[in-house]
């Protein structure tokens, strides 16, 4: 029995027409002699009536000053996928195919007790297998699991966090030893660049698990890294396909199966704010502890960092724009005792805020404080080139920086790893930067 796990995202189940198109893909799989196992996300995206964010807003708006309990939020969010799975099973029934909707727990997905971001501990897919055995098409709620607490009756519903439905699909694929897992969305597969920025950007026919995870890490969300990791660990072939077209899509494969290609694509993050600080103002012996304290504070406030840099004169980092107020609030006027016995007071921007002046006055009695200003660059974004073999070759930086300099695009900072090279550029130049790199690296002929 060849099992195929077919996951349909929010846009693929959003309307009756979309659900029918998705369901017909499932019917087609059965006609090819496959046993489809369907995984669905909640219906629609933010702002639409049954989307996960809409359900959360429903609760939060009721009592804006009261933070909902994570357990209650998980129960509420799980409703989106339950509704979606029931509707999808009903759509299949209307097309003449018997189907059964299953919650994550009924599909055997067991997690830890971390509400809102649960980790899958194990999957026993007996419920799914029984459904298949009875000739039913299982329609599993993505994003959900259950936490089985020792000594307590029943099981607690948990949700898997970002990319949860992709993770459900990959996990079920592994547990069922499926022939493949197909992730259906509204684009043809993994593109060499965002088609909004590079119209006609080709669809890659093959990427590696690691490449697709890195692309997601750097801003493009085609397949979640957790799903890629499961696919890689269990050797499950993953496909990214378009519900609404017959394009063959992108196959995600192991490194050993990948065919030669130097550059995978150009990707970009959303809006970033860059912070940098010159620490030469501090004694040399104080610089490491100062930096360690700043990063610890950022960690305590769950700030997600991009483009961290460290040089002889200081360090820098970027954050998503929505996290920038948190960074400003926690760092401005922050007093950091340093190893030499004096104190440093952090200042955000070029001038002292009232809080910085007040703190400096308060700590004066312990000695003259050192004001350490952080420079802030608003309106940045990160454009990245992802490539499997390319980054190890001499001349990569020259090539990429050369393209951007020729286009007179300012580069604030760079960051690279074994499989990517990123440049922090003005947000206003993003479109030109993506297009120039795509063109300059010959990606129009990729695919």
């Amino acid at each position: 029995m060849s099992i195929v796990v077919m996951k349909f995202g929010g846009t693929s189940v959003k309307t009756k027409e979309a659900r029918t198109a998705s369901a017909l893909r499932v019917v087609s799989a059965t006609e090819q002699g496959l046993k489809p196992v369907v995984v669905v996300s909640a219906i629609g995206r933010k702002g639409e009536p049954y989307a996960t964010d809409t359900l959360i807003s429903f609760l939060r708006d009721m009592e804006p000053d009261v933070e909902p309990e994570p357990r209650e939020l998980d129960l509420l969010m799980g409703c989106g996928e339950i509704l979606s799975s029931v509707v999808f099973a009903h759509t299949l029934k209307a097309l003449g195919h018997a189907a059964i909707s299953l919650r994550g727990g009924q599909a055997g997905i067991r997690t830890d007790g971390n509400y809102g971001n649960a980790r899958i501990l194990g999957i026993n897919p007996l419920g799914v297998q029984e459904a298949l055995h009875r000739g039913l098409i299982p329609v599993v709620c993505g994003f959900q699991g259950v936490w089985i607490q020792g000594g307590l009756p029943g099981a607690e519903m948990t949700t898997l966090g970002r990319g949860g439905s992709d993770t459900t699909a990959a996990g079920l694929g592994a547990a069922l030893q499926a022939d493949r897992v197909e992730i259906y969305t509204d684009v043809d597969g993994v593109k060499t660049a965002d088609p909004d920025y590079v119209p006609g950007a080709p669809t890659l026919r093959q990427v590696t698990y690691s490449e697709v995870a890195e692309i997601a890490h750097l801003g493009a969300h085609v397949l979640h890294p957790r799903a890629a990791e499961i696919g890689m660990n269990f050797g499950i072939p993953l496909w990214v396909k378009n519900t609404f077209s017959d394009d063959p899509g992108t196959e995600v494969v192991a490194e050993s199966q990948a065919t030669g290609r130097k550059v995978t694509g150009v990707t970009h993050t959303g809006k970033l704010v860059a912070f940098s600080v010159d620490v030469t103002i501090l004694d040399e012996s104080d610089r490491a502890s100062f930096a360690a304290t700043v990063f610890q504070i950022l960690s305590d406030h769950r700030v997600s960092l991009y483009m961290v840099s460290r040089g002889p004169s200081g360090f820098g980092f970027a954050t998503r724009r929505e996290q920038s107020p948190v960074v400003r609030a926690v760092l401005d006027a922050l007093v950091i005792p340093v190893a030499s016995g004096s104190v440093a007071v952090c200042q955000i921007g070029g001038s002292k805020s009232d809080a910085v002046r007040t703190q400096a006055r308060l700590v004066e009695r312990t000695g003259e404080p050192t004001i350490v200003p952080f420079q802030v660059v608003e309106g940045c974004t990160m454009v990245s080139v992802v490539g499997r073999d390319y980054m190890r070759q001499p001349g990569v930086f020259l090539n990429i920086m050369g393209i951007l300099v020729r286009e007179q695009i300012q580069v604030f900072q760079t960051s690279d790893s074994e499989s990517s090279l990123s440049c922090l550029v003005p947000e206003s130049e993003l479109r030109r930067a993506v297009a120039a790199l795509h063109e300059g690296l010959g990606l129009a002929e990729a695919g």
């Binding site: 547990a175 030893q177 360690a292 610890q296 960690s299 700030v303 961290v308 001499p394 050369g402």
Partner: protein
């Protein structure tokens, strides 16, 4: 096909049977524990700082990169640092690098290591990258470079400190 009770060659896969064989499914173990799970140290690198440059900086930087590329030297972890730039090369390339940078003001520090601290899905674990950096900074040694990937944070630092980082930051190796 893997049968219940048979050994499995894949580390994550638990044996189980498909339903037509009449066997009940067993549980398959899944995602890695969150947080740091491995620290990897690679030795034999040098940090190079070039500059200060005169304006225009962009052309001066490109000139350095062109010279280095012409000597077939692979550059990693490039950082722009005001009128200077720094990067990391393999120690074995230092001779070629000296040829490439002849006539330019530069310093190199050999005996550096690349330390990769691995953790699954780092971007979604908010605060984890910052926490890892803070932990490494607290080892007290000067860190030349910091970078990140989807599953690791990368540091370039003194080779002697690298082993201490491995011990202190640890993980579940």
């Amino acid at each position: 096909m893997t049968h219940p009770g048979s050994p499995s060659s894949q580390p994550f896969r638990r044996e189980h049977a498909r339903p037509e064989e009449g066997a009940r499914a067993a549980e398959t173990k899944f995602e890695r524990e969150r947080g740091i799970d491995r620290v990897e140290v690679r030795k034999g690198y040098a940090t190079v700082s070039v500059g200060p440059f005169a304006e225009p900086l962009e052309q001066a930087r490109l000139d350095v990169l062109r010279r280095v590329a012409m000597q077939q030297v692979s550059v990693d972890y490039l950082k722009l640092d005001g009128p200077r730039m720094s990067f990391v090369v393999a120690e074995s390339d230092l001779q070629s690098l000296a040829t490439a940078l002849e006539g330019l003001e530069h310093q190199s520090r050999s005996g550096r290591s690349v330390v990769a601290i691995h953790a699954a899905n780092m971007r979604d674990e908010e605060g984890l990258i910052a926490k890892t950096i803070s932990q490494v900074m607290l080892t007290g040694d000067e860190v030349d470079h910091i970078g990140d990937m989807h599953d690791r944070v990368i540091f370039v630092l003194d080779a002697a400190t690298a082993d201490r980082v491995r011990l202190e930051v640890g993980g579940r190796e």
